[in-house]
């Protein structure tokens, strides 16, 4: 699944690095809002599984931080789309993310103890890295509404923090 999620995001990057002639493929604001919200929901779901499964305090604390932060950011995103009267629009990227995440959760659900902790945290590092890459190269540059762009930019800073935090926890598990 890891490979799949990488593939989904690799596809995202391909779109992003494509020449400007393909600007028509840039996601619209309603699609961007949907992708960002979906990406957040995925990490909340993974966090819930970790809180339920892990016995490691560092891992559980990290998962609680993820749940709290991503829920807060998603709430902000919902408030913003309501204010802007934008209806988030499902799209292939959101669908690919959701499918990949479902497979990752199924894989994680079979693991226990240290194996689970390691797999969860390693996926958190990789997942945040990929989402941050997509935010930087595709979603933020494509956003046309200034408030949406600003929310994505703050989100990027938060998720870059998560990436470093996850790397720190991964280092402690070694």
């Amino acid at each position: 699944m890891f490979m799949r999620s990488t593939a989904a995001l690799a596809a995202l990057f391909l779109v992003s690095t494509a020449p400007l002639a393909q600007a028509a493929e840039k996601p619209t604001d309603p699609q961007i809002a949907h992708i960002a919200y979906t990406a957040g929901t995925i990490d909340v779901e993974a966090a819930k599984l970790a809180i339920k499964t892990s016995k490691n305090k560092e891992v559980v604390d990290f998962a609680k931080d993820m749940e709290r932060d991503h829920e807060a950011v998603n709430k902000q995103a919902l408030d913003l789309v309501k204010k802007l009267k934008v209806t988030p629009e499902d799209n292939d990227t959101s669908k690919a993310l959701t499918k990949a995440a479902k497979e990752e959760r199924a894989k994680l659900a079979k693991l226990k103890g240290a194996d689970f902790d390691k797999a969860y945290i390693e996926n958190e590092v990789a997942y945040h890295k990929q989402v941050n890459g997509a935010l930087e190269t595709l979603l933020i540059p494509s956003a046309s509404n200034a408030e949406l762009k600003s929310l994505l930019e703050t989100g990027l800073k938060i998720f870059q923090g998560h990436e470093q935090h996850a790397e720190h926890v991964a280092g402690m598990l070694k």
Partner: protein, 103 residues
């Protein structure tokens, strides 16, 4: 007459014996940035962080103080030792600040 004289004397003695008034230094957190990023303080001063973000942060010194700063709230620490320290947020280690504490 005597108590009247004593009162101002006592008050004076109290002021004289207490060190310079401790100050509160305000630091704001907005969009994951400590502002000002670097502050100067004296031992006994308090630093108070005001968090404008919708997510919680911490101000943490490795091997030192660890202040929780909930979302849309404040957190504070009273500085007990002189020295310069770097602090960061445990939840978002990309957030960094600095405090120079003089005796």
């Amino acid at each position: 007459m005597r108590p009247l004289l004593l009162a101002p004397t006592l008050a004076l003695a109290l002021i004289a014996s207490s060190p310079a008034l401790a100050a509160t230094i305000e630091v704001t957190i907005d969009k994951l940035v400590f502002s000002p990023v670097s502050v100067q303080a004296k031992v006994g001063d308090t630093i108070e962080w005001t968090n404008k973000d919708v997510i919680a942060h911490t101000a943490t010194v490795k091997g030192g103080w660890d202040v929780m700063i909930p979302a849309k709230s404040t957190g504070k620490v009273t500085l007990k030792a002189a020295g310069a320290v770097d602090y960061f947020c445990r939840f978002h280690p990309n957030m960094k600040g600095h405090v120079a504490v003089v005796p």
